[in-house]
Symmetry: C2
Subunit: 578 residues, 2 copies
Amino acid sequence: MAVSSGFLRGVKLFNLLAFCVLFFSLVNFPTAEARVRRYKWEVKYEYRSPDCFKKLVITINGRTPGPTILAQQNDTIIVELKNSLVTENVAIHWHGIRQIGTPWFDGTEGVTQCPILPGETFTYKFVVDRPGTYLYHAHYGMQREAGLYGSIRVSLPDGKPEPFAYDYDRSIILNDWYHRSAHEQSAGLSSLDFQWVGEPDSLLIQGKGRFNCSRLASPTLDVAKVCNTTNPECSPYVLTVIPGKTYRLRVSSLTALSALSFQIEGHNMTVVEADGHYVEPFVVQNLFIYSGETYSVLVKADRNPTRNYWAATHIVSRNSTTPPGLAIFNYYPNHPRKSPPTTAPSGPLWNDARPRLNQSVAIKSHRDHVIPPPQTSDRVIVLLNTQNRVNGFMRWSLNNVSYNLPHIPYLIALKHNLLHAFDQTPPPDGYDFKNYDIFNVSENTNGTTGNGIYKLDFNSTVDIILQNANSMSNKTSETHPWHLHGHDFWVLGYGEGKFDIYNDPRKYNLVDPIMKNTVPVHPYGWTALRFRADNPGAWAFHCHIESHFYMGMGVVFAEGIDRVGKLPSSIMGCVHRN
Amino acid sequence: MAVSSGFLRGVKLFNLLAFCVLFFSLVNFPTAEARVRRYKWEVKYEYRSPDCFKKLVITINGRTPGPTILAQQNDTIIVELKNSLVTENVAIHWHGIRQIGTPWFDGTEGVTQCPILPGETFTYKFVVDRPGTYLYHAHYGMQREAGLYGSIRVSLPDGKPEPFAYDYDRSIILNDWYHRSAHEQSAGLSSLDFQWVGEPDSLLIQGKGRFNCSRLASPTLDVAKVCNTTNPECSPYVLTVIPGKTYRLRVSSLTALSALSFQIEGHNMTVVEADGHYVEPFVVQNLFIYSGETYSVLVKADRNPTRNYWAATHIVSRNSTTPPGLAIFNYYPNHPRKSPPTTAPSGPLWNDARPRLNQSVAIKSHRDHVIPPPQTSDRVIVLLNTQNRVNGFMRWSLNNVSYNLPHIPYLIALKHNLLHAFDQTPPPDGYDFKNYDIFNVSENTNGTTGNGIYKLDFNSTVDIILQNANSMSNKTSETHPWHLHGHDFWVLGYGEGKFDIYNDPRKYNLVDPIMKNTVPVHPYGWTALRFRADNPGAWAFHCHIESHFYMGMGVVFAEGIDRVGKLPSSIMGCVHRN
């Protein structure tokens, strides 16, 4: 149940405490329009059939994807989250929201908070200080994959114009979907008898996909009981458009594993926003999108209006057998369930990395909205992305260190000086640049685990070079989408091969780089980022592939801890006993 | 890893703190033999195939059933439990151990402790003050069904004789087994679109059973990957015996649902112990056993020694399609894998309640070990067992109140006087005796939920009458095994039909009733119990069918809270935030 309430309504509805909260909100934020938007969510396990296959999912108020948070810039969002899972804890991350002044509500279990116990109600409260397209999702174990995710759409204050025109605004989340539970997947990944999650069973567009139930055909199983393609839950998502109108379509990806392309049959898309920042517009037929990214594209309904069209998403970068995810781009007044007369478009070649790299490079800041990057940095951290074995377990590592979340969240440990909570030795700022061959399987794939963190000088400028390499399989290098909490970063450049610390920085775009919170590192390539360590707190930076992060592919940055305010006791439930 | 250490070894192994623990143990317990037995357990999800079907189970140190705790009377058991489940909490109950002086280590989530978080290590420490056969298992959500259970065997101090003779001592746990996860089952039970768990897929003897994998035959599934009858994990359990020797076989049941019979082809069994109390010996061919019960039977290997025999367990009381569970009773030196030349014995008629009632009545205290019951009681609580609907949800109730566990454990709420933690109004001591028709579906099946408790006067004598009734299905009344925490009770009598509070007490056995902690109430019958409220703490009393308790079939007793010592902070992790 979403309750959005204006100031006057708020005074009537809330008790004295809530009134004080409102009062201080108004003091903190200059715009008179800033509102408090209050949501009450109940999280529980329920049976659903997003792709026609019935399985247990985690719902919010009965839904997956969960309710969309709609707000205006500088609004305060309050989510009262009741955990009604039976034996499982939960935590929700507000993806792309920087949590300035509220680092404890970033929702990252093990980094910024203890998990929320079954039966508990936990209140998240934060300000959405920038317009744009954001996400929320579970950030605990692999619960995101169980369906706990949704959209946050922050619009400009009334009367403030966007740098592009459109008639209507729509949001969709792309996702890949597995029939095995997150418990089964995580157990397989963390067992000595390693069991890879494999390719997804289907792709979902805004929570709807279609699995071919006949693949489960069996003389002994009543297939219709577990998989039924006539179930309306898995009818294709329909995006209805009025001929001639222009749509702002907010496209996000929260895939567990897959890099995707997205297209609308016969229609161009103009990219205008990425991760909450305006993009110098450019046109694509296929939008490549990686887990954790959000884009706005403009689509004009300017084709033959007597029929419907396919919207389709395909897996790229992996040789997947997963069928495309399909939605119907429905021209009003055609019937929304009327299939397009054409076969669904095929996607781009899965193993052609060139157009993906080209798109990455093409994304620049809108010319009227450039936030100039610092021209130099104070520190460069190069993170070599490798697959490793640690004590026989399959892991992912940065500079050969595979990340293990500690039991006590970093933010609490740092603020309360609990030195025993994690390894006080920081992880390395680089790897053996000279000798490591990124194009082949390493001669020694053994790594170690660690939970040390990078402490950044407050307000310093930090460069991160994500260096990709060959995995443990011959001639294989994967795409990793990296997501930074608490900050946006400037994307200074992408390159192929081994990053050259002397020459490559000269090619950085220091003029109009886009700012983002999620960025891919392409196979055998590198990606260079710059950010200011100006947000007091402890912040995860990790591969957004659920299984990769679970297998250690992440680090944590901390900065300005002395400037972090008093931590709310609600985040500290796992600490007092240690 | 189980480390049992004598006093001298202990001094070497443990640090000063452990030494103090040992020292006080010696001060507390008069026998010089009392030892500290220390276990380090890690609980995690792993794939196992107990009945040849591969599924995720909860293991302790890699095993299900978990390691057996072997101790002597008055030993102190210390279990350091590390929760390595990814997102799930856990709690372990020590079934049959009264926890005198340590009510906080009873392991019942919501009653005696907060759950143990992932990453945490929780230390249980308690004294096993009586010899006998006990159990341990998860007591949180429906985790017991996921495989988290094991045996506790407490022997007499050295030199103290049992009142019966045997050559060897063996333990087996009987269980029923489901392929669907505990998460799936609990979600189905607690949804408006009620989904019953159904009959089990197989029966396990000491963690081994056999599912007919051909039932999964499918042209599209590689069945051998998920179900393989050649997997040694599901080879039948083998109980090897030496001809002519007498075995004490400790038989326990931890079924999720099923009432069982157990037999050893061609062999009589002499019942000598029940729930840790000596039984006046009697002979059975079929031992009926209900979830939560433990028995010792003596079996002499006195048959033709040139062959093996079947040990078999069958479901009774429900019309189940589940095949019997089979083990091999192996006469040495026949090969332990050699199938008996006979077909496995069939079980008793599932719907013949008479022999089950007869066995219940036959169990009396051993004549030399009678603990005389108080001849009168201070309070009588009659608990009508009914199936109800509450707000559309399917539930089980006592006196029309379906029990909902609170978030804050009772023991903590009572000791710290947290009045808001649960409903301060106690549930009713009886039902509408005059008008309620126990033989038919109730005219009004609606009930309510509640979390009020029964406060018992310390040291008072309490009678409980379990009154069975028709469920919500026509002509159906189920068997419910009721388990009391923190106490043994005298079993005063069983009867058919509606309990007559004026006449039936005259038939009570007040001479040599057995004491137990778990007892069945038979279909359309009643069972009368008496216990002394002499153990300060808060104690669950509930149907031991996992789904029934989950659906509300339980109550809580509290007594002598002012005598409960200072609660350890380790149990209170879920409280401080409220």
